[in-house]
Symmetry: C2
Subunit: 142 residues, 2 copies
DNA sequence: CTAGGATCTAGAGCGCACTCTAGATCAAGT
DNA sequence: ACTTGATCTAGAGTGCGCTCTAGATCCTAG
């Protein structure tokens, strides 16, 4: 075990790191960047104690970051959530911006996948030709 | 016009920048990093003259970079292509590694898209509820 | 009581992929 | 000839998102 459980129902920074895949460094960094929604509670000794809600939010953060949302934008989103209800339209706009980015990226990736499949076909063809009849024409590259 | 045509059939660095979407700086950087397949030809005055083959290769580079292939790996791929036929298996392996990365990324993006759609549903619901009957319970965030 | 690991803060450092700067040269239009 | 803009080289600088360091403190197990 790298991280011992804190009071049941809350989590140490190490446990949160295990659960979210973020490093403890990254967790402190996210907090300093104001990416979290509430202030993280502390023990008497000054250690952070994360709640399940904190962890859930961090999971969302991870998904958004993985999909290319810049930290600055995630910070803006956290601010909106922190303000509470009443700004749903702004949240929707932010998410919509990100959705567009995500879809563009999916398209780019799918194009790349096609390119790869095409290239794989070319090289596999070369290999089969090579096995069948020796070297192919060395003047044709790519 | 930001970039005048060179000898027909070849391209100035500015034209290549226009066609590939890379900056002229990035083009010189790619060359220095050995991402290109052949040495780029020069005019008497020392300016680069790219061929259509160079441009095609750069287009592939752009696709691979867009889809997250690190420059170092692209460089390795360029080396293999530069060596000519005979290393198709290594090229296939490299492409396969990248294909896996691309597919993982597509999956991550699709998960994120679902998350967004779910969140959008939540906020849209809030908005409709708000329009219909005023403020919702301010203790439920997210 | 002690040793060990986990955590704390503040801030420096890093890897990546460019991007920009400075100062010179080249080339095309007038 | 002159002006203007594109290009050249070498190398410094930038932005992002962490990652790592140092030195102190906390806490759990033995």
């Amino acid at each position: 075990m790298t991280s011992a459980p804190a009071t049941s129902g809350t989590f140490t920074i190490g446990e949160v790191a295990d659960r979210t895949g973020l490093s403890v460094h990254a967790l402190r960094y996210y907090e300093k960047q104001n990416l979290l929604i509430g202030p993280v509670q502390r023990t008497a000794g000054g250690r952070r104690t994360y709640t399940a809600v904190d962890v859930d939010w961090l999971m969302i953060c991870v998904k958004l970051r993985e999909s290319g949302m810049p930290v600055a934008e995630l910070k803006r989103f956290a601010e909106l959530v922190r303000q509470g209800p009443g700004n749903e339209e702004q949240r929707l706009q932010l998410l919509d911006t990100h959705r567009r980015r995500v879809e563009a990226q999916i398209n780019a990736l799918e194009e790349c996948r096609s390119l790869i499949e095409w290239k794989v076909g070319v090289y596999t063809g070369h290999l089969r030709a090579g096995e069948a009849e020796g070297l192919w024409d060395p003047t044709r590259h790519g």
